[in-house]
Symmetry: C2
Subunit: 382 residues, 2 copies
């Protein structure tokens, strides 16, 4: 038996929990916090809520919201310089995966120095990071609970995967109300990202009983609540359950790691300005088809988590139904069906495949894969 | 919606993981560790394994193994004095719930001073505790992941419940091999304690979706693996799954708290030298009968987690089948059936009931309860 490791932050979950962000920083010993966000979150008013909470807790603060989709090394280095100039002693990330990943990456640099590229890979961080409190607003990335930060190397035009237990934040504050300001497209895209986290973690070579229960619950909740969540901004039952799905999927993949969907999606996201969740949703059914024979039993389990009646079916038959379900779900919520729809150039397939093959997430993919297999998967998804 | 909070330590799970205890302390900055254990664990050879691991990591160490069943305030104060004399800077607890609860209580005193009685109740700990690494050897208490420490007030003859996030250890190391030295009686007793944790947490007023998934899995695993685990010391599949069940039940009740079974069992354990798990197993079906109408749906869920086919049954019918199942399980594994078998005097019922009514665990019991109700439950269990 392998030795399993499982880490997670303290989690505060529920409506209005965002108002606890200041007090949470205070509890961690902060006096002067650095708040990382993005323009969309600022516009929706959530940054202001966080600032108010920090003020009420008597904290000094600085804000940095120059974060873009597929966030870049330069943003991290600018943020770190500002953190140091302003003598901050704790960090808040509020937003989607981009804001939170940048907040984590800034935490690395201010405590360890150097360039963010120095920390690419597993366990490269030596010194303890400042206190980190993360507030996700997308029910998607799971970064608020994970050991990961994904930052774009702008020169190399590829995404760097940084993995370390130090990147598990101290406190994750998950407030489903923050989801009410997301539009339908972003809800669909991030929700399918949650599904891809749950499915890749469940069949990952590094999955354990502890990660399996979280993945199972995440997949079950997505099947029940993603459609209604896309349908209505104000359906709080759906928002709450998607926030929980994202959290549980995050806990699962943080500890079980992911697979080919994410390895391939990181490659694409390193070169093209596309949304991570959109790419994942296109790739997911193709990778499931490829991986099915690696673990028919687990794919049959996924079918039952999705609500499919698998009685009388073989594992392979049930697994195929799970794949069909994922395709139908993407159609129902208006997600993209092909990579070509997103303006990704077909000529890059070979190069993308090579990058995907070397991505840290590929190591735990349940089926062995060659560069030719990846190229074939990309072609199918085009 | 209530705001849910969930905390857990870093978990290292698997055969031979006990050898990582020294390295784990080192990673937390320890140089001189204080190891708390009990004579049974020492005799089984596990204390030696921990000492060897500490030596290999280059750590200084002191050992303290004067811990008894239902551990006492005096043991905590003696341990704390020795920790301070020896200038230790981290603490290891290895053993059942008693050793781990004493290790936590020593951590409180060495960092906060005073007497352990000062910390009874919720959130009374002010200063941060030294690094804590816990190694459970019983698949029972869940203390290695919980916010609880239960210490006997010897003068007042009652158990004090201390609850604080600071009591969640830094690292829990769960090695199923440590279960191979337990006899059948202790395996049965601690296994039924796990079941009572899972069931009380699942129906607790403070349960949340995050605690429910852990409770569900714990209950399912106990139903599958407790009988075989009692039957054979060397059935590693059963030991591994019971270790996982204990861990997940601990994660669940640490965050959802418990109910009347534990409130009543703490009262008994404060006065009589009986094993906590034995008392719980006698009380559990009676309390389930009492609580059934508070949440028929959740008791029906429990029936299905136990493997009962609930199709065509009402929630009440299914819940009653769950209660019957728990009674049969206790019989199958030779657990005690009545409190009178354990030498507990019937004259103490009234006094015990008053103490149980005031126990912190009673607050989250799903059905309102009066002192007369508790007396009646004790009489039924006699």
């Amino acid at each position: 038996m392998m030795i399993h490791k499982f880490v997670m932050p303290e989690v505060i979950f529920g409506n209005h929990s965002i108002h606890q962000v200041g007090e949470s920083c205070l509890r961690l010993g902060a006096t002067n916090v650095f708040i990382v966000s993005d323009p969309g979150v600022m516009e929706a008013g959530w940054l202001e809520v966080v600032i108010k909470s920090c003020k009420q807790a008597g904290l000094k603060y600085s804000t940095f919201y120059d974060v873009t989709v597929n966030p870049k090394d330069k943003e991290v280095e600018n943020g770190a310089a500002m953190y140091i100039d302003n003598e901050c002693d704790a960090i808040i990330g509020i937003g989607g995966g981009s804001s939170i990943d940048v907040a984590k990456a800034i935490a690395i640099l201010v405590a360890n120095g150097g360039h963010i590229h120095d920390y690419e890979g597993v366990d490269k961080i030596q010194k303890p990071l400042p206190p980190q409190v993360m507030v996700p607003t997308t029910a998607g990335s799971g970064s608020e609970v994970s050991q990961f930060s994904i930052i774009l190397d702008t020169k190399g035009q590829k995404k760097m995967t940084i993995v370390s237990k130090s990147l598990v934040p101290d406190i994750a504050i998950v407030d489903p109300e923050t989801l009410t300001t997301k539009n339908a497209h972003l809800t669909a895209s991030t929700g399918l990202d949650v599904l891809s986290h749950g499915i890749e973690a469940y069949v990952s070579l590094a999955s354990t009983p502890l990660t399996d229960v979280q993945a199972k619950n995440a997949i079950t909740l997505v099947a029940q609540y993603l459609r209604p969540s896309v349908a209505s901004k104000l359906n709080m039952e759906a928002k709450t359950n998607m926030a929980m799905a994202s959290l549980q999927a995050g806990l699962s993949f943080s500890n079980a790691i992911l697979g080919a969907v994410h390895a391939m999606s990181h490659a694409i996201g390193g070169r093209f300005p596309v949304h991570h969740g959109d790419v994942n949703s296109v790739l997911l059914p193709h990778v499931m088809e490829y991986n099915l024979i690696a673990n028919p039993k687990k794919f049959a389990d996924i079918a039952s988590f999705l609500g499919i009646d698998t009685r009388g079916l073989t594992y392979m038959e049930a697994g195929k139904k799970a794949i069909d379900y994922v395709k139908e779900l993407a159609i129902d919520i208006g997600a993209p069906q092909k990579l070509s729809e997103m303006g990704i150039e077909k000529e890059t397939i070979q190069e993308m495949s090579q990058i995907a093959l070397n991505d840290a997430c590929m190591i735990t993919n349940p089926r062995d894969i060659t560069i030719e297999d990846i190229e074939e998967l990309f072609r199918k998804a085009w």
